[in-house]
């Protein structure tokens, strides 16, 4: 074995690997919240499901078809648990918000890896 043949062994950077795993987890969390909240609030919380009047081309409201069956009547408003929060805001925003906070805590406690970031370099070292 000569000096020329000796190469440093390369492994995937563990910070990159762990960060990528956490990144995927968080994007899935965002997607789940988005799907639930947008669907619930749009269907349960709107007086009218009219299309966007200023949309260029057909609006997304038109693409999903008429949803007039979901139009709310103003008198149908309830406020769960006497908190004074409209029902659609309570179940569409506040409940998933609480769930998301709980998941965030669990993520930080059990999923997040405390990687060592103290690689080479100091602030202001370049150029």
């Amino acid at each position: 074995m000569t000096a020329d043949s000796i190469q440093p062994r390369k492994t995937v950077d563990p910070v990159f690997r762990n960060s990528l795993r956490e990144c995927v987890f968080l994007l899935l969390l965002w997607l789940a919240c988005c799907l639930y909240t947008v669907t619930y609030c749009y269907l349960a919380g709107y007086l009218v499901h009219e299309p966007h009047p200023n949309a260029t081309g057909p609006s997304i409201g038109k693409l999903v078809g008429p949803l007039t069956a979901f139009d709310r009547h103003p008198q149908s408003l309830t406020t769960p648990f006497g908190l004074g929060v409209p029902d659609w805001v309570f179940f569409g925003v506040i409940v998933p918000w609480v769930v998301a906070v709980v998941i965030t805590v669990l993520y930080c406690l059990f999923f997040f890896v405390e990687d060592d970031l103290s690689g080479a370099g100091r602030a202001g070292e370049n150029p």
Binding site: T11, P53, P96, F112, E114, A123, P127
Partner: protein, 661 residues
């Protein structure tokens, strides 16, 4: 109008003094450390509290306490849906990029976002484009933020309308530019912590007070629902707006101001009972002078409607909150100001149309503007879920903070703190401003930007000394939010000019002393320029803030995110992504410069299209121009361990240059 109490003014001034003290302490620390790293990045030593508060306070800008409250005041509960992605914004905007960006920045010694791009893609062109884009969007944003700061001072100190804004602007500019230039990043972070605490404290204390004054949320909702249909006009010019309420059953869709398009026309009111209620409008043909310019005041319109035999019994006409004041002249004579201003109607445009809004409309989506347009249709709802959580990741101001924390544990604790911070700020704000609609009479669109400050100074200020002090803290909260964003943005422009353009591109051998002087000077000069631009500010701050935030994300998120996580991302791909995202954002907003509407293709906000185009181009162009240079891939994605007698890598690729670890 209620006078601002001495307690409010003293507390407010004490807060400003605290900010100056922190700047002074930071400046002393600056003298003991490497200037550039300390001045622009705090020597990468932020702890979890500092990181959390500087991150959250920078994100919670003037928009959070002026634009956002204005929208809640105007559209009601649908803003809870509009802001809903903040449920994951903290964890996403810090967690997705934080650890990896911090590691990469340490590896290369980067202290700005253009630094990161320059090193990751080995491209000066990318860095220069990034710097130019940062300066462009940041200046736009700063104009809106300076307006917010000036409005807060004007309202807090009850400054007269004719010169109050200018005085507020100068006071705000001098304060924020001085402490930012003098103290640098560390001062900005320390004041962010102070400002973050003030924000949370202010909101937490304000919520129960407002709910109690409104009789509880149930009662507030009931009052909103039972309010008669109301129309609030908002046309160019001051003190000309009116509030029109239906006295009984509403049989009219709204009001149209019409320019008669001829000289010496008299004021004329038309209302046609022959058409259906949904098409029936009160048509006001404005009186004009010999040049065809309108001469009708709001008071004239009020009188004409009240004296109209059919309309008088149907409608009650009053003034928006800010017009409804008593003016005392120099002889001590007091008169109600009312709508003494000319109804400013552009003759070329010809008409302004307003509709009646039912009370219950603010309890549901989609919300309607005074001109009858739906506020939050489906395409916007989807777009705005991207806006705060995903777009939030792509902000250079917050990314910079992710390069400055100490270690992973700091990031983890900061994520938890920021998540709590956002929850304690944004949902309570919705409650407070929905209640404000009951507690403060109608505000027109122009003055609704003051809704939060009015709640803090008027609603709370009338309740005795203890509450006056609370009011002062509450006024400081929005002021703190504005300052915490402005200081960060000022530093970002300064770092772009001094570090990215001058030091790393033009003159790498520049002395520390010159860098120091240039940094101070650019911060001050940029502050002065923005102050001048903010003397003629745009309406609706939130629109500017949304434009710049979306522009940043469309330009920066793809090259940074894919650069950190995808080995195949090339220099050409990154440049295409940045240019594509930037062009889409500016192009889709361009019509607004010429009085038109923003382009909402398929009903989606340009923000979404900017991200789609940027990521699409980044991926496709990289695929076509790849693979990325091996030495960059090795440096950013691999770790070298002890020498092994082999030519091949773990994944079978060959490399030319080893990376650092």
């Amino acid at each position: 109008m209620t006078e601002t109490s001495p307690a409010t003014i003293i507390t407010f001034v004490a807060y400003i003094a605290c900010v100056f003290v922190l700047a002074g302490l930071s400046h002393r620390l600056l003298a003991t450390k490497s200037f550039l790293g300390e001045y622009f990045l705090g020597s990468r030593g932020l702890g979890s509290w500092a990181l959390a508060f500087t991150f959250a306070a920078t994100a919670a800008s003037g928009g959070s306490f002026t634009g956002f409250p204005s929208l809640i005041y105007s559209y009601g509960w649908v803003l809870a849906f509009w802001i809903a992605s903040y449920m994951v914004a903290g964890v996403c905007s810090m967690g997705v990029l934080g650890k990896r960006l911090n590691q990469v920045a340490r590896k290369t010694g980067a202290i700005t976002i253009p630094d990161v791009l320059r090193d990751r893609y080995d491209s000066t062109a990318l860095a220069l484009f990034a710097t130019s884009t940062i300066i462009f969007f940041t200046v736009c944003n700063l104009i809106a933020q300076f307006k917010a700061g000036a409005l807060i001072i004007e309202e807090t100190f009850n400054l007269p309308a004719d010169w109050g804004y200018s005085a507020g602007l100068i006071i705000f500019a001098v304060t924020v530019v001085f402490y930012t230039a003098y103290g640098g990043f560390r001062a900005v972070v320390w004041t962010d912590v102070l400002q973050g605490i003030v924000m949370v404290l202010g909101i937490t204390l304000l919520l129960p007070v407002v709910l109690r004054q409104g009789g509880g949320m149930e009662s507030i909702n009931r009052k909103l629902r039972d309010r008669p249909p109301t129309l609030v006009t908002s046309v160019p010019g001051a003190y000309n707006d009116l509030v029109i309420q239906a006295r009984g059953q509403l049989d009219t869709a709204g009001l149209i101001y019409r320019h008669p398009q001829r000289a010496n026309a008299p004021l004329e009111i038309r209302w046609d009972p022959g058409v259906g209620a949904e098409q029936r409008f009160i048509e006001v043909f404005l009186a004009t002078d010999g040049d065809g310019q309108p001469t009708t005041t709001g008071n004239d319109v009020k009188g004409a409607i009240e004296q109209h035999p059919r309309l008088g019994p149907r409608f009650r006409v009053s003034f928006p909150y800010d017009n409804n004041e008593i003016v005392t002249d120099r002889f001590g004579q007091s008169t109600e100001r009312g709508a003494t201003g000319i109804v400013g109607l552009d003759g070329a445009r010809g008409t302004e149309r307003f509709v009646f809004l039912r009370g219950d409309e603010v309890l549901f989506g989609p919300g309607r503007s005074a001109r009858g347009e739906p506020f939050h249709p489906l395409g916007m709802a989807i777009s705005f879920f991207f806006m705060w959580a995903i777009t939030g990741m792509g902000q250079p101001g917050t990314m910079l903070r992710l390069m400055a924390f100490k270690d992973s544990r700091t990031l983890k604790r900061a994520i938890l703190t920021v998540t709590g911070f956002y929850s304690m700020i944004y949902l309570p704000l919705v409650f407070i401003l929905v209640a404000a609609r009951v507690l403060i009479p109608e505000l027109n669109a122009e003055n609704s930007d003051k809704a939060m400050v009015l709640v803090a100074t008027r609603v709370v200020g009338d309740m005795g000394l203890a509450y006056q002090i609370l009011g002062a803290v509450l006024v400081a909260a929005p002021f703190a939010a504005v300052m915490s964003t402005v200081d960060s943005f000022l530093l970002m422009i300064s770092s772009g000019l001094v570090r990215d353009i001058y030091q790393r591109t033009i003159n790498p051998r520049v002395s520390d002393r010159t860098v120091k002087r240039a940094s101070y000077a650019t911060t001050v000069i940029v502050g002065i320029l923005v102050t001048l631009l903010a003397t003629r500010p745009p309406d609706f701050l939130q629109r500017i803030i949304v434009f710049t935030g979306s522009g940043f994300a469309a330009t920066f998120l793809c090259p940074i995110m894919l650069g950190l996580y995808w080995k195949g991302m090339t220099r050409q791909g990154a440049l295409s992504a940045m240019v594509g995202g930037f062009v889409v954002m500016v192009g889709f907003f361009l019509p607004t410069l010429f009085g038109g509407s923003r382009i909402d293709l398929l009903g989606f906000h340009p923000n979404l299209w900017g991200l789609i185009v940027s990521f699409g181009l980044g991926f496709l162009v990289s695929k076509r121009t790849g693979p990325a240079p091996a030495h960059l891939v090795d440096r950013y994605f691999y770790k070298l361990s002890s020498p092994q007698p082999s030519h091949s890598t773990e994944d079978g690729r060959q490399s030319r240059v080893g990376g650092s670890a």
